[in-house]
Symmetry: C2
Subunit: 429 residues, 2 copies
Amino acid sequence: MPDVIRAGIVVTGTEVITGRIADANGPWVSERLAELGVEVAHILIVADRPDDLEAALRFLAAEEIDLIVTSGGLGPTADDLTAEVVGRFAGRELVLDPEMEAKVSAIIRAFARQRGWADEEALVASNRKQAMVPVGATALDPIGTAPGLVVPAGEQVVVVLPGPPRELQPMWPVALATPEVRAVLDRATALYGFTMRMFGVPESEVAQSLREIEADGVDLEAVEITTCLRRGEIEIDVRYRDETTAVAAEVRDGLVARHPSETFSLDGETIDEQVATLLRGHRLGLAESCSGGLLAARITDLPGASDYFNGSVVSYSNEAKADLLGVDPALIEARGAVSPEVAEAMAIGALERFGADLAVAITGVAGPGGGSEEKPVGYVCFHARLADGTALARDPVIPGDRSDIRERSALVAMHLLRVLLGGGQELET
Amino acid sequence: MPDVIRAGIVVTGTEVITGRIADANGPWVSERLAELGVEVAHILIVADRPDDLEAALRFLAAEEIDLIVTSGGLGPTADDLTAEVVGRFAGRELVLDPEMEAKVSAIIRAFARQRGWADEEALVASNRKQAMVPVGATALDPIGTAPGLVVPAGEQVVVVLPGPPRELQPMWPVALATPEVRAVLDRATALYGFTMRMFGVPESEVAQSLREIEADGVDLEAVEITTCLRRGEIEIDVRYRDETTAVAAEVRDGLVARHPSETFSLDGETIDEQVATLLRGHRLGLAESCSGGLLAARITDLPGASDYFNGSVVSYSNEAKADLLGVDPALIEARGAVSPEVAEAMAIGALERFGADLAVAITGVAGPGGGSEEKPVGYVCFHARLADGTALARDPVIPGDRSDIRERSALVAMHLLRVLLGGGQELET
């Protein structure tokens, strides 16, 4: 592909490299760059050691990277050294920017007053280093207390952003709008893309389908296809440029033709979003056992859930199934708490108790204990039911550990809801 | 500190660098290496492009890294090139290892038969490249289908591991046991550490306490202290070596003395583990509204929860609060669904309906809509109650967005449970 602009991302922070907190900035910046048609070649995570940071910058410079984005190390403490190291890398001395110093001081003073901190002047003094800017660089107004920087460095441009995602993300469009960054991005060819989602098909079958599509004469090399298993679903991301639009469409159509009932999203919409749309005008009640509230948590994750969600009974004990959902204890005794019959009774109970027109029940063996030969760990019974008695029932054995089985149970229930509400073809599990 | 062994980690995968899936391997390997006293200097994430991977390896070689660990790129497909690139980096030709080929073939055949795949021979052929091993390297038996490698490369040793965490993690101890890796690790000085956890104190106050401890003459530079805000709690990690054991103890004691009621864990034990222990012999019932099932999901995340957890009513609608928990609709009308009085009534209802001896109720405004001047978004009422009427109630305004407020609600409830069950001092919120 022509005119590929390559970027590198450097994430600083000892707490990140030690694995104590997960880095959110690398993936976030990478996604934003991909949307702009920029290829991210490397993400480097380095500790708060100036030599390691400088080595990372020099490595990216040697790798013909056009744009370098750093996150973190802009605070007021001694180990916040990014501005200094980037300045040295760019061969630009740091000087105090009086205008920025005034801005930072004003923020710190307001902050200190709001919190009732006495030692205002000491704070202002300790934050002075945040107003040190490499000569010839553009300082970006702080979102928190730390200004960002755009620093020309020979053939490269370095965008220096603060570590907290709440500061980094709002500063990103400001950095993009600077003439230095725009000059780099203007060289990139626009990249387009779409994301497809499938459920109920192994990744290997999707790989096989792609090989068949290629064998049919579609030039897969002309586009970028990423397939990954993400929380139990297959996500297929296709990126293309103007001249390969037709190839991307052939890939999409070829996959849909081979997996018509497993493909539930062509535009990246998630199952949660689809179910939320389908639930409008309904009243949903849930009855959960092995999923332990995860389905309710998933349904209520989206704002506005109270418009269609009445509630869930997480009936972990048999007594709770009987007392709160009206499941006949004799049925539990006869069939076992994990059985299609009890799942059905739980769904009927949820319909009644919540005054709902739609209910889903889940009961299963999440493990690690509690499995038997007949009902092994991972055996989960689902029953989705409308008030008119229309129902979908499934009882798969879900692979994986306790956490996988619980998460996947909630996912299967989401897809049963989708199918029951007419949002897709019959579900194969 | 003497004898510091430095490591670098290279994570491969286009789906990781594009941010489509979060990398779990870099942080996991980094934590394991830290436990062994190895300093991780760099984590690099690279796409599935051989040139970028080789550049990453050469960068680490130049950075005086003793041990390189790679993850991913060991599969059977064309873009799985790690073994080949590492071989080239180490100057070692790849040759077919007949013993490993037999092992991989046997795994593939068993796999294909189990799944009923017809094209067994094609599969075996396509997996042959997984048995290609650089001359002089040690192949590690596959956990899935891909063998790992330990490859001596000049001054460095490269440990090549598969990408799926389920394969990488069990292979890790096997790699450590190889003579090549042991020789590197034997040069590291043992590193010890402990993790403290606090709740209800801002990170800035902990930083201030550390400055006070330093002013009292404790040499903080002699140990490595990482403080981070993790899911609403402060986690303080202290790493030290034999000769700085006393310093680490002074740090710990100084922090506990300054934050006696906020410190709930000195040994890294999580609030979830503590609550699980405290709940033994009890029967817990929950009543959740704004947390939407997250507290139940958290309680049932640990195996064995059925020993003490009866269930939860996620009563999202007012009708559910009345019908399933027996909350008086007149009380909801008078005080509002989000009120300390309704939280108390929900807890009493949960005690009764679940036949529990302990209950927690949560009702709040998760937002983004639904807030008022009197009850803004983030206002959450908690009521934790024993059957004998002993109770703890709180109604803080929790900062953040919908997701933060929901997660934090479940966390506050966990800490109320801890305090109510005598697992800590009075809680300050």
